[in-house]
């Protein structure tokens, strides 16, 4: 009897440390997770389902910007590309009315002329009468096929072009055709600078999927025709009742929403969005104008809300 008791006693005392050791590893886990649970419960009690309570100081430290939603303008734009062409109204192939000998010529290629300025004097071969050719429009002489003593032919003597006004022919593909209309503002971008203008008219193309929006513009950047250019078309200039900064939008559980501030509470509010531009987005549903919302660094709020999910798995 005694042997057995002793053996059992020894066994039971020798073994617990070894067995218990493993048990404890879990115990620690338990503790940790209990702690976690408490924290989560805490959140729920205080803040409701999708909200947080955060002290102002923390908001400041985290550089979270708080803005007020308000009505405002949304500049909706689309980006298109197209070619620059010369305005057909600003190009003139100057020809001799009666062919004859060129008696006098004053302008050379590259010269700028104003409308009505003397270009050449030609003596008609038929009447031997000399007559004057003047510039039909102001512009630059870009071609010259006339030299002193030559007999004029059918060829134009001068080609005068005025590139002060050019056409941008922007291609409008089906996805945007409904939005693009004449008189819409256009910003043409060239070498980092931009030119403002408007769509003059929209022309369908035969056999092509796209429409061409023709945009005349003042060429103070000295663009040559034939260049390929990028342009933003302001398709809508809408005044919406509620707009917020786009950076405020976050996605939680596949739902877009905004963090609305009330005192120290930040509640994730799902929203339905509408038109948007570079900076703002229209809120059709979800919040009222005058609501305060988190804009810059609002991601931190989302991160805080979901942080129980943040884990490190290997």
């Amino acid at each position: 009897m005694n042997k057995l008791t002793l053996l059992v006693a020894f066994l039971s005392i020798i073994s617990p440390p070894l067995f218990a050791a493993d048990n404890h590893a879990h115990e620690e886990d338990h503790k940790e997770s209990t702690h976690h649970e408490l924290e989560e419960n805490d959140e729920h009690n205080h803040n409701g389902a999708e909200g947080l309570t955060i002290a102002q100081q923390v908001i400041d430290e985290s550089n979270i910007g708080i803005k007020k939603s308000a009505s405002g303008v949304i500049h909706q734009t689309i980006t298109t590309y197209g070619l620059i062409n010369a305005d057909t109204n600003s190009l003139s192939h100057v020809q001799a009315r009666y062919s004859g000998e060129i008696k006098k010529i004053q302008k050379n290629i590259g010269d700028f002329v104003t409308k009505g300025e003397f270009l050449a004097r030609i003596e008609s071969s038929d009447s031997l009468q000399a007559y004057t050719i003047t510039a039909p429009l102001s512009g630059q002489i870009i071609q010259k096929h006339a030299n002193l003593g030559e007999i004029t032919s059918d060829k134009p003597l001068f080609v005068i072009a005025n590139f002060e006004t050019l056409w941008a022919e922007l291609k409008i593909f089906p996805k945007n055709q409904d939005d693009v209309k004449p008189n819409q503002k256009v910003t043409l971008k060239y070498n980092g600078e931009s030119i403002e203008s408007e769509i003059a008219h929209i022309i369908p193309q035969l056999g092509s999927p796209y429409l061409t929006a023709r945009v005349p513009f003042k060429n103070y950047l000295k663009i040559t025709p034939g260049i390929f250019i990028e342009a933003d078309i302001a398709t809508a200039l809408e005044t919406v009742p509620v707009r917020v900064e786009k950076v405020a939008l976050q996605t939680l559980n596949d739902q877009q929403g905004i963090f609305i501030q009330k005192n120290n509470e930040y509640v994730f509010t799902p929203v339905v969005t509408g038109a948007f531009d570079q900076k703002f987005i229209e809120i059709k549903q979800g919040i009222k104008p005058g609501a305060y919302y988190a804009s810059d660094n609002s991601y931190l709020l989302l991160a805080e809300l979901q942080k129980s999910e943040a884990g490190h798995s290997h």
Binding site: L6, A21, H30, S33, L301, E304
Partner: protein, 1036 residues
Amino acid sequence: MINAIIHFSIQRRFLSLFLMVIIIASGIWSYKHLPIDAVPDITNTQVQINTAAPGYSPLEVEQRITYPIENALYGLPELEYTRSVSRYGLSQVTVVFKDSTDIYFARNLINTKLNALSSVIPEGTSPEMGPISTGLGEIFMYTLEADKNAVKDNGEPYSITDLREIQDWIIKPQLAQVPGVVEVNSIGGFNKQYHIEPNPAKMLYYNISFEDIVKALKANNENKGAGYIELNGQQLLVRSPGQLTSIDDISNVIIKEVDSTPVAINDIATVVIGRELRSGTATRNGHEAVLGTAMMLIGENSREVAQNVNLALTKLQSSLPQGVSAVPVYDRTQLVDKAIQTVSKNLIEGALLVIVILFLMLGNIRAALITAAVIPLSMLMTITGMVQTRVSANLMSLGALDFGLIVDGAVIIVENAIRRLSHAYQLQSSLTLKERLNIVYDATTEVIKPSIFGIIIITAVYIPIFTLSGVEGKMFHPMAATVIMALIAALLLSLTLIPAAIAIFLNKPIIEKDNIVVKSSVSLYKPALSFCLKYQKSVLGAAVALVVLSGFIATRLGSEFMPQLDEGDIALHAMRIPGTSLEQSLQMQEILEQKIIAFPEVKDVFARIGTAEVATDPMPPNVADNFVILNPRDQWPNPNKSKETLVQEIEKELGSLLGNNYEFTQPIQMRFNELISGVRADVGIKIFGDDMDTLLSTANQILTIIQSIEGSADAKVEQVSGLPTVSIEPNRIALGRYGLNVSDLQEWISAAVGGENAGLLYQGDRRFDIVVRLDQKTRTDIERLKYLPVPLNNGEFVPLEEIATISIAPAPAQISRENGKRRIVVTTNVRGRDLGSFVTDAETAINQKLAIPAGYWIDFGGTFEQLESASQRLALVVPITLLFIFGLLVMAFSSIKNALIIFTGVPLALTGGVLALHLRGMPLSITAGVGFIALSGVAVLNGLVMLSFIQALWQHKGFTLSQAVYEGAMTRLRPVLMTALVASLGFVPMAINTGTGAEVQRPLATVVIGGIISSTLLTLLVLPVLFQRFHQRKPV
């Protein structure tokens, strides 16, 4: 045989002494080769296969790279299992081999397999094995700092990209030369790249595609050798240099001719020094930094390597540009030094205490020194043994060495020899050499048997430790091995050196002085023993009561796996929600670090975010590994503040930061966790299968079932989703209308957004990628992405949105696989019931309630497996060990009764250990368990010494039973007290030390000290009583 050895040692005593010289020499040689580290290496035998696949999403990485690699590894010999993660741009397959596998053999096998793979996986990706390192490998880290005023040659301040360039091309090549360094890993900053950013409109205008640009660059970037010519006896090499060397060179490359006008790169694009699409970065003290990590080759001496790296780093400072410096931020040497300091302080103080006690008790300085000589000698022999068996010196392996235990055998022999010699000198004033030698021989042989038995028994009790497997095994095998080696060394010395030394050095007449210590103990012991022998029943009753009481206390003690080594530094994971971008993470990290560095206790804080160049730990960008290096304690405002308090304070301070989750740990611990990984909950249910959605829904169903089972706690499904992805899905009909193939579109997207590699730009050794891609602004604005013009074959274009649907959708952030199949894990802890029945219940419930789809299967795992197998093994091995010891005792006495009486010593010895733990408020742990094991051995040894003597008196010398008991007990008082005192005092420094690493050894020492006190009392008081009672009834 034993007697013959002793005889030989005494006869050839000078030869025996000469042995000592050999032992010392080999010990010193071995010491130089002994790998020293702070903790044992618990990493399993694993090889990581990393494949960088820039631009590939997790799904593509898995399909194109991970799967073929895993497939190729099937059937490797010694393979334990494979697991893998597929992340953005990275595939990592971890191959775990059986523990005994040679790492180089394993790597060779994998290498062969990988070579055959090159045709299967996508071009441009090549699988590489991770560095040959372990969890202890990250021994040294440094960051690069530039003075605020420091400027480059061109007058600009150093950017983070410049610092990275210095790290990669100046520092790394030099550190990689340091012996023992297997890899220098860089993280932080950007790899310098030359970016060609074409304007899409201009590309259309000139009708130039990305392909054209790449082709032009490749065709204009080569040096060519053209043999040699001989000129007037001279040999002249001919070469035509044509490599691009600068931004200007690149700008002037002609792409093609349009209307007889050459179009150069700078006509349509800007060329800039750009930033790679990186997967990780580093920070230090609140700003972005470049961090280098030196990794140590497996099996090297970490202290030495870290020191050499430090030295090399100091030396190379002079090669860095003015104002730039490399600052060490983590150096393993410090930890190892501190830990070794603790251990050696314990050992030296213990040894000194032992010598003092020996001197006090024996009253003879020579005898004390002879005994004490066993300590350094057995230590040297142990070191030799450790080097031979590849056990590294660390807190664990050296932690259980108690010189008291080691000298026990020698103490008994020396004590007996002194007693006998002085006895002889009392009879005759001088002895001849032969007489003296005979006495020494007799004295030795008289007690050698119990000594040998004792050592064999102590060795035997360590055997169950060898059956621990996995992490516990790796932790405690070295400890058991070291102790056993030390004991065997001591045994060999007691057989040879001790008798020889006694014979040589105790050559003068010895008179046993009336030692005050011995005298006073005798005067105390006498009445106590008489009392006990008189009130036998009460004494036995008290003993039983004590055992019962301590049994009760034992159940009330807390428990822990093992005390965690305090590395002195803090590591913490800062985790943000999945999908958080690297730049956002970086921003959050900078605020976090500013908070941490504000603590006066903190010296340095640095972090790795995401994945480093060599993906030893593939973290997503939302996770940061922070290292918090603390100031020395004396510089703290309150040097007595505990580390726990500090951690709590930091945690509280960081708690206010938004969007971070934390996990506090320590640098080495963190690395081990990362490498070993696996399921860390009680029960893990792995679901294997193909389709992520099915896996997830099955997992969620299982979660519901598990939660309904009694005892389940913290059940959760592993997170898999959550990486937002911009999906540009080609519209095949629209593509057809415009005459494009899907691949045309995809290649265009990949080049425009991700960039296309167009060769390298060489500057000396340095080489930088030349990449063609759209400029940052264009390619990152999702809303404008849809308007981007995609070129058509006829020179026209079409906006992207006409031919593809652009949407943002969540996609798996990572795909985890195990043994070649996708898997998802449901984990749960179990509370309030035993694991075994929980698992059975869970299995039944899942089988009943859930129809798992065909092609899917589940597997139960988790810590319960290890626990179960460990319990089973121990349940078998512990009784066998006890039986074995019992058998030895029966052999020694040829009496079951006596063996049992000695065995009673064990529970009483354990009593003291339990009480000591209780008094110091320590929990039970494996280290304490090891203490209990050692204790049982000592208890048996003490009982053995006492009983064998009483037995001899009673049976051979004709004493009556009670006389024999009384006389025997009185005679053995001194050796029993001595062994007890040396064993317990030898551990005292360990029990009270507070240095680095002391927390690991403290429980063990506490248990042994407490236990030995109770065990000695028992041996002296209860054992004689028991012997008398049990032999009274039936005289033998």
